[in-house]
């Protein structure tokens, strides 16, 4: 049996019954990666020797004992490269473990490999990686989504049991949807960001990408909680997220926001999401129509706030303390200018310039302050909605996976890929994407994602709602024919 195709909880059962060993899982993952990652390009690097060594000492009685978890290249793992898929962090080796990595290790997990991403998590397709895009395991001509597209691709292609990603405007949920995985964006403050390279600090969260909802709950159990090293973490007790998974959706009220079923929504996506809603009704949920009236302003608000925060956060990449420094420098200003010109890719430069402009003297009130005020209106929309419903159902992405190269020339088109996910980051609430069907495009099956949004700190509810649907379908069990993908690209 191919161990790489197991879910985390399946692997755990086999490990605890001593039918398999952690070492065998790592060996099988490495075999699988060597077989298919040439076509998928989900990993930037991995250290098989170190993972095997850690596997030998793994304690399988721990909550994630002996389970390798693949890590997006934006989360620090001591002694591993952490490059954010950027040239400017070339050669950088993390001198410490992020809090989520410390927690994973304490739970017995093995941090494994570095998954590809859009540079500094800026993008929706992995095409902004300085090391080339990842490919969607369902169709190698298409994007796996982004920015955590390496993580979603390796989970979908069975090159990982599960992975960590980061979500600033949809960067976990959108790639999960496009690859047919489960992806959770936790509540702002639920998971520590210490050791996550910062993009937009009022929006970033780390979360899991997995093969089913139970796995996501198991990883959330481990990575959640307050952290003295991240002053934005919330000091609320962490429940066992697996406890309520099987409680069903009877007596729950689920809201359908009319603003998410609009022109531009792919008909096959709409059909699949509406079918999922009908299924929920059958499973006993009470479905009501709701309105999130400021939805249409979310994209504009996001593309002021996120670049503004990014322009400040990325000022640290100055070619002095770490990473790349340009050659042939004539003075300090030249040092900064050339290092950042040569070290950053196009999208990162674009966003730093946009953010610097939005914060610059004379424009701050017109752009940044106004966007923060509209952010309040978006947040209030969700407060009003959650007074009436337990969770919200909507599409994760307006379209299935798009073709590589299709949107790279038009940033605004690329930004629209996140139009349904970024409001959750602005409001700080939690969200999950789960598979809810397939679109047929050009003879290929492309996964469709259902997004479930929940009130702040109500991860248990959205995981329960997600699990109820998942257990009534087989979508999450479908596997792409990556062997076929391998042939078609070679």
């Amino acid at each position: 049996m191919a161990l790489s195709s197991l879910t985390v909880h399946e692997a755990q059962d086999l490990l605890r019954r001593k039918e398999i060993s952690p070492k065998e899982i790592v060996e099988d993952l490495v075999r699988r990666i060597e077989q298919v990652d040439g076509a998928v390009h989900g990993y930037l690097s991995f250290d098989a020797g170190r993972a095997l060594k850690e596997a030998e000492h793994a304690d399988v009685s721990l909550p994630l004992g002996g389970i390798p978890i693949s890590i997006k290249d934006v989360v620090s793992v001591q002694g591993h490269p952490c490059g954010c898929a950027s040239k400017i962090l070339q050669g950088y080796v993390a001198p410490f473990d992020a809090t989520v990595i410390k927690k994973l290790r304490a739970a017995g997990a093995i941090p494994f490999g570095r998954t590809n991403m859009d540079e500094f998590a800026m993008g929706s397709s992995t095409e902004n990686s300085a090391f080339g895009p990842s490919r969607n395991p369902w169709d190698p001509d298409r994007t796996p989504g982004g920015s955590s597209g390496g993580s979603s691709a390796v989970v979908a292609a069975d090159e990982a049991l599960a992975a960590l990603g980061s979500d600033t405007g949809g960067s976990i949920r959108q790639p999960a949807a496009l690859c047919g995985c489960v992806g959770v964006k936790p509540t702002y403050g639920r998971v520590s960001r210490y050791g996550l390279v910062a993009f937009a600090s009022s929006l970033d969260q780390i979360g899991p990408l997995t093969k089913d909802v139970r796995d996501a709950a198991m990883i959330m159990n481990v990575i959640s909680g307050v952290d003295p090293c991240d002053s934005t973490t919330l000091d609320d007790p962490v429940p066992d997220y697996t406890v309520d998974l099987d409680k069903g959706v009877k007596n729950l009220t689920l809201g359908l926001p009319k603003e998410y079923f609009i022109k531009g929504l792919d008909p096959q996506v709409e059909e699949a999401v509406r079918a999922a809603v009908a299924r929920y009704e059958k499973l006993g949920a009470n479905i009501v129509d709701i309105s999130l009236p400021h939805t249409e302003y979310a994209l504009s608000t996001y593309y002021i706030i996120a670049p503004a925060e990014a322009s400040a956060n990325l000022a640290r990449f100055d070619g002095v303390r770490y990473g790349f420094r340009a050659d042939g420098i004539t003075g300090l200003l030249d040092h900064y200018g050339k290092t950042r010109e040569e070290g950053f890719g196009q999208e990162v430069k674009r966003r730093i310039i946009l953010g610097t402009y939005a914060l610059s003297s004379g424009y701050y009130d017109a752009y940044y302050l106004r966007a923060q005020k509209v952010r309040t209106l978006i947040r209030r929309d969700f407060d009003d909605a959650f007074a009436k419903v337990d969770a919200i159902l909507c599409p994760t992405s307006p379209t299935p996976a798009f073709k590589l190269g299709e949107r790279t020339g038009d940033p605004l088109q690329m930004y629209l890929a996140d139009v349904f996910t970024l409001a959750a980051n602005m409001a700080g609430i939690c969200g999950i994407s789960i598979p809810c069907g397939f679109a047929e495009v050009g003879g290929k099956k492309l996964p469709i994602g259902l997004q479930i949004l929940g009130k702040a700190l109500n991860e248990a509810t959205i995981l329960r709602v997600a699990n109820t649907y998942e257990q009534s379908t087989d979508w999450h069990r479908a596997k792409p024919d990556v062997g076929g993908a391998l042939h078609s690209t070679l």
């Binding site: 934005t232 100055d318 070619g319 610097t356």
Partner: protein, 95 residues
Amino acid sequence: MSATKFDVRYVAELARIKLEPAEIATFESQLGHVLDHVEKLNQLDVSNVEPTAHSFPIYNVFREDETRPSLDREAVLANAPRHAQGLFIVTKVVE
């Protein structure tokens, strides 16, 4: 052609990023379109709305004022493009 135009060359200077003339032209057009889209925000009356900087108001998170271990100096310096005698080497600032 976009209605909103801003001086990409000047803003890039503020952000300490050198750009080729061709890049400046491309960014001017692309970011002009993005700013046109952002104009949408002017449709809303926000005069009585408080801004949101963070989703949840958490203030004054302090820890005990005690020394604690920090990162190992050698491990940190190992990432520097240039370092010597326990220090980062910076491009010369004064003549």
